[in-house]
Amino acid sequence: MTGSPREAAAAPLLQVRGLEVHYPIRSGLLKRTVGAVQAVDGVDLDVARGTTYGLVGESGCGKSTLGRAVLRLTEPTGGSIRIAGEDVRAMGPEALRRARRQMQMVFQDPLASLDPRQSVESALVEPLRVHGIEGGPSAWRTRVRGLLDRVGLPSGAGAKYPHEFSGGQRQRVGIARALVLDPDLLVADEPVSALDVSVQAQVLVLLQELQADLGLTYLVIAHDLAVVKHMSTTVGVMYLGGIVEEGPSAQLYARPLHPYTRALLSAAPVPDPDVEATRERILLRGDLPSPADPPSGCRFRTRCPWVQPTRCADERPALREVAGHTGSQRVACHWAEEIEAGTLSRADAA
């Protein structure tokens, strides 16, 4: 088959199609459903084995909900999720419990996901026991100690309690906890945003080393554009429940096509005064619209500097490839070509 690069690649480890997470809004005496918060609305994504997919977007765009829905920690209301070809949404409770061995989550605040009264070693042995991993207690403890060492914690860390660790060490514990069942897929939701700048790099490097050593596949969710770029093979930019642009990391950052991606990149601070002095900022108007009542057509149109009187309001743009961009960069904008060619004038141009 000589199709697009997407088809040519081996079957992806994670395949998401048309994923929807709608939260009902109930109102009145009978708590009738009067509407829905469309937190995630029609997302497709493929993550190839051993690669990292970075999801970036601002608060409220639905990126965390998407990450949780992929693991069914939040129940999706539509669409399909396949991990290694298996339909995760069709699984019953027992099948899902067994499948969780393959898919684990790293949270932003690992302290909140650890029992404060349980030593780290006992907390990490628990999943091995629950899942009936062969070997018995002493083999489990050996495995946990090996992992704690692997993630760079000092020996004796297993006997300590979560509060005894610094922020960076806690995130290492969180990573070890996610790895204890030897999963294939790790969903990491803001894995470093709670950490000090100097410690962030340590955790990012650790995640990359672990990926290389263990062949892990990552879905990394973050609001920090630089972190996502550094970690990811492919990047998806989310806005109000949908992916507006997707592409290989370097390509997307070098030539962003969607107006929102352009605005995000133009706003990301760079530790270099010369870059800061010369760059052109695209300032967005207003705030994020409510996901309970998203704008018709293109959801970004209410804030888009290039919004046009036609199409934008009445036609929701689908992700599509743009001529002149080889590879798999895709954008959900009707006017991407014209914007790139500079033939559309910006509404905010003075």
Binding site: V197, K229, A250, A267
Partner: protein, 344 residues
Amino acid sequence: MTPTPQTTPPAGARPLLEVEDLRVRFSRRGQPATTAVDGVSFSVDAGEVVGLVGESGCGKSVTSLAVMGLLPSRGTRVTGSVRFDGTELLTMAPGQLAARRGKDLAMVFQDPMTSLNPVLTLGRQLTEVLRAHTDLDRAARKAEALDLLGRVGIPDPRRRLGEYPHQLSGGMRQRVLIAIALACSPRLIIADEPTTALDVTIQAQVLDLLTTLVRESGTAMVLITHDLGVVAGTCDRVNVLYAGRVVESASRQDLFARPRHRYTSGLLAAVPRVDAPEGTPLQPVRGTVRDRLEWDAGCAFLPRCGRGDGACRTGGIPLAPTDADRARHPDHEARCVHPAGATT
């Protein structure tokens, strides 16, 4: 009162804010005292944006609270000198200082949700500061509040005056806080991580707003942040703090072009950048701020430093220009025995 640009002091006059050898010690019964700020000095001129940069626990926020006289008096010992326009603030009577706070000195905090009163309308909170510090009547205060909301870019200010903080988005709340800070045309604004809680596009809007206001009105600003990218875009002069001391002080251009202290250069190499070429490796700084030496025993950063040696184990390393900078950049100072790029 219409906001009028403050008269800038003549060139060569003393700086607007002078902080000298500021020390803050916290003590709790039954526990050893901790020194949060350990001899910090810096100055700010009118119309200037000075950055205090560092990670959690470096003393940047405590420094700002000490300048504003907002630290609790119990268990806190503040020494040194904080002069505002020549007047010593540290020894000032609490009532006198309170009269200047909000009027001459204003502060913008990180979290706009906890800094605004949830049960008072925005109009009430905006006019409160005007009532305390000006003799405007009710109608004039309201007009001024409307004008302020307009200046910070809040659409439909008339309707917003009657609204409560929860009805606003995070970016809007931060704008309201800035409007309150600006209400009496302060001569100095201290902004403590003003954009950390905000999304990147909103952050750009708020920083733009703050720097424009500073440039236009000649207000001085101290910007406290952990984000080197924010510093690069806004500050004229930067002080890098580590373990309660300034370890490097330079103009923005010099700091990023020639970082001297190993902590500064280490941080710059550890931060991922959106404009980095693909495959640029990160060079993490090892350890955490907990791994520190007492300043009396040597450089606090030594346990995490890749370059340090026995020579760093001496107390009293001065903040001074490096040999490479002494002639051409005498105002670029670093507290480092083996400064980066200084041997070539």
